[in-house]
C-alpha cells in the first residue's frame, strides 16, 4: 500500500459513508451535511486525479453555493423528521434485487473497460496537474458556444425560480 492508494481509500470510504448517511438520516439537514461530506471527499479525489481547478470549483460552487441553497430552504421550510410510509411490495421484492443487480453490472463494466489502466501521462510524472490555462483555452475556444449557452440557461433558471417562488398576492 502506497500513499496514493491509502489516500484513495480514505476519500472513497468517506464518500460512500456520506452517501449511506444521506440515505439513513431522517432529518433533511443531516442528509445535507452528509452530502457536503461526499462533495468534499470527491474534491480530494479530483485533486488526486490532477484536476485542481475542478476540485476548487467543486468546493466553491457545489459545497459552497448549491448546498447553502439547500440548507437555506431546509431552514426556511423548517423541515423536520421525514414521515415513514409503507413501501410498496413491488419496491421491496423487485426494486432492491434489481437495484443491486444494476449496481453490480455498472461497477463490473466500468472496472472492465479500463482494468488496471493507470492514468495516461502517468509514466514518471504521476502527479502532473492539468493546468488551468489549458482548461480555459479549451473552454473559450472549442466550447465557446456551449459556454455562452449556459449563461442563457442560468438566466432562464433565475427567472423561473423567481416566478415560481413568488407568492401571489
Amino acid at each position: 500500500m502506497t500513499v496514493p492508494f491509502i489516500l484513495f481509500f480514505v476519500f472513497a470510504l468517506t464518500a460512500i459513508g456520506g452517501a449511506l448517511l444521506l440515505i439513513l438520516a431522517r432529518e433533511p439537514i443531516h442528509s445535507a451535511l452528509s452530502l457536503i461530506l461526499v462533495m468534499m471527499s470527491l474534491a480530494g479525489l479530483y485533486l488526486m486525479l490532477g484536476a485542481e481547478f475542478v476540485a476548487a470549483v467543486q468546493i466553491i460552487v457545489y459545497a459552497g453555493a448549491i448546498m447553502v441553497l439547500f440548507v437555506f430552504v431546509i431552514m426556511l421550510l423548517n423541515a423536520g423528521v421525514e414521515e415513514r410510509t409503507d413501501y410498496s411490495k413491488m419496491a421491496k421484492y423487485a426494486g432492491i434485487p434489481l437495484g443491486i443487480l444494476l449496481l453490480l453490472d455498472l461497477a463490473h463494466w466500468m472496472a472492465h473497460s479500463l482494468i488496471g489502466r493507470t492514468p495516461a501521462n502517468g509514466a514518471g510524472s504521476a502527479n502532473v496537474m492539468v493546468s488551468t490555462r489549458d482548461l480555459s483555452v479549451q473552454l473559450f475556444q472549442k466550447y465557446l458556444f456551449p459556454f455562452e449557452a449556459t449563461s442563457i440557461l442560468i438566466l432562464i433558471a433565475i427567472l423561473g425560480a423567481l416566478v415560481l417562488a413568488k407568492r401571489d398576492e
Partner: protein, 102 residues
C-alpha cells in the same frame, strides 16, 4: 510510487451513482430527493474526470463545468418548486403530491 488505476475511480463512481438511485427511490422528503439527484450528478462528474485523466484529454473536465452549471440551475428551480409545494400542501412528503399518480 504507483498510481491508483482509473478503474478504481470508475467503480467508486458506479457505487455512488447506485447509492444516489437508492436514495432517490427510497427517500420520502422532496428536498432529500433533490439531494439524491445532486449525488448522482456528482458520481457522473467523478467518472468524467477519471476518463479525462485516462485518455489525457481535457474535454471531460470542461463537461464537468457544464454539469455543475446544469446542477446549479436545476437546484434553483427545483427548490423554488419545493417551496411552492410546501405552500400548497403544508408538507414535504412526496406521497402527498399524488395528483398525477396512477
Amino acid at each position: 510510487m504507483s498510481v491508483v488505476p482509473v478503474s478504481y475511480y470508475l467503480v467508486l463512481s458506479a457505487v455512488l451513482f447506485g447509492l444516489g438511485v437508492v436514495a432517490f427511490v427510497f427517500k420520502r422528503n422532496i428536498i432529500t430527493i433533490l439531494m439524491a439527484i445532486e449525488l448522482m450528478l456528482n458520481a457522473v462528474n467523478l467518472a468524467f474526470v477519471a476518463f479525462a485523466r485516462a485518455w489525457g484529454q481535457l474535454d471531460g473536465l470542461v463537461f464537468v463545468f457544464f454539469v455543475i452549471v446544469v446542477a446549479a440551475a436545476e437546484a434553483a428551480v427545483g427548490l423554488a418548486i419545493v417551496i411552492r409545494i410546501y405552500q400548497n400542501r403544508q408538507s414535504l412528503n412526496i406521497e402527498r403530491v399524488n395528483l398525477l399518480k396512477f
